[in-house]
């Protein structure tokens, strides 16, 4: 009985997808959300970008019925720290929020090809229900020089929708290029 009780307490991560060396303007991960899981964890490991402005930040959208949710429905707040040298932030801890047509994950360095990478872990709650969805994320950023930062963000979509997947791109889904060493998607039991 004790063993059964112990097993019921386990949080089980079921890996649904893992891919590596992905370079594109947009990466979509679609068709994995089911009612089997209330929570999904997406790891974007070792990424940076190219693009005059857009290649400096990561953006994410939900996909609904094959199309990205592009209206200004993403209400996101974050708490971040940037050390000296961060191009777009003041030094120290900062709080910001926005309602954009994408989740603005925040700054990373345009250092494609240099091996200077950032990492983000996202959690998405109940995407496969026809409701507003909440999400949160934690990022570690570094440009290999004097820009280092931590970002903790969370938000909700302000519309009811049944999400089937996620799209990942550079800032604002502009015309830059995103390079990712690894993407992993888990369903959490």
């Amino acid at each position: 009985v004790q063993i059964l009780v112990g097993l019921q307490c386990l949080v089980m991560y079921v890996k649904l997808y893992e891919g590596s060396n992905l370079t594109a303007n947009t990466i979509t991960v679609d068709g994995y959300f089911t009612s089997d899981y209330d929570k999904y964890v997406l790891e974007v490991i070792g990424y940076n970008g190219q693009g005059s402005s857009t290649g400096t930040r990561l953006s994410v959208r939900f996909i609904e019925g094959g199309s990205q949710l592009t209206s200004n429905y993403y209400y996101t707040g974050d708490y971040h720290y940037a050390s000296s040298g961060a191009n777009n932030w003041s030094n120290g801890w900062q709080v910001s929020w926005n309602n954009y047509s994408f989740i603005d994950v925040g700054y990373f360095h345009d250092s494609a090809g240099t091996g200077k990478k950032s990492d983000t872990t996202f959690t998405f709650f109940r995407p496969q229900t026809n409701k507003s969805h909440s999400y949160n994320y934690a990022s570690n950023i570094w440009d290999g020089a004097n820009t280092i930062g931590w970002i903790y963000g969370a938000g909700h979509t302000a519309t009811n929708q049944l999400a089937t997947g996620l799209a990942i791109s550079v800032y604002s889904f502009g015309s830059g290029t995103l390079e990712v060493d690894k993407i992993k998607l888990y369903g959490v039991k």
Binding site: L22, A24, N25, G31
Partner: protein, 41 residues
């Protein structure tokens, strides 16, 4: 510009459509305005 489409049935790499490229380029203008505002705030 490329798009990588990952589904349980496999992974495809495709070119963005002309419409998608146009939209991405239009998004750049908004992005630059926002980032410049942040840089000067």
């Amino acid at each position: 510009m490329k798009k990588i489409i990952i589904t349980p049935n496999g992974t495809q790499e495709v070119d963005l459509t002309a419409e998608e490229i146009e939209q991405a380029q239009a998004n750049n203008a908004n992005a630059q305005a926002t980032l410049q505002a942040e840089a000067t705030s």
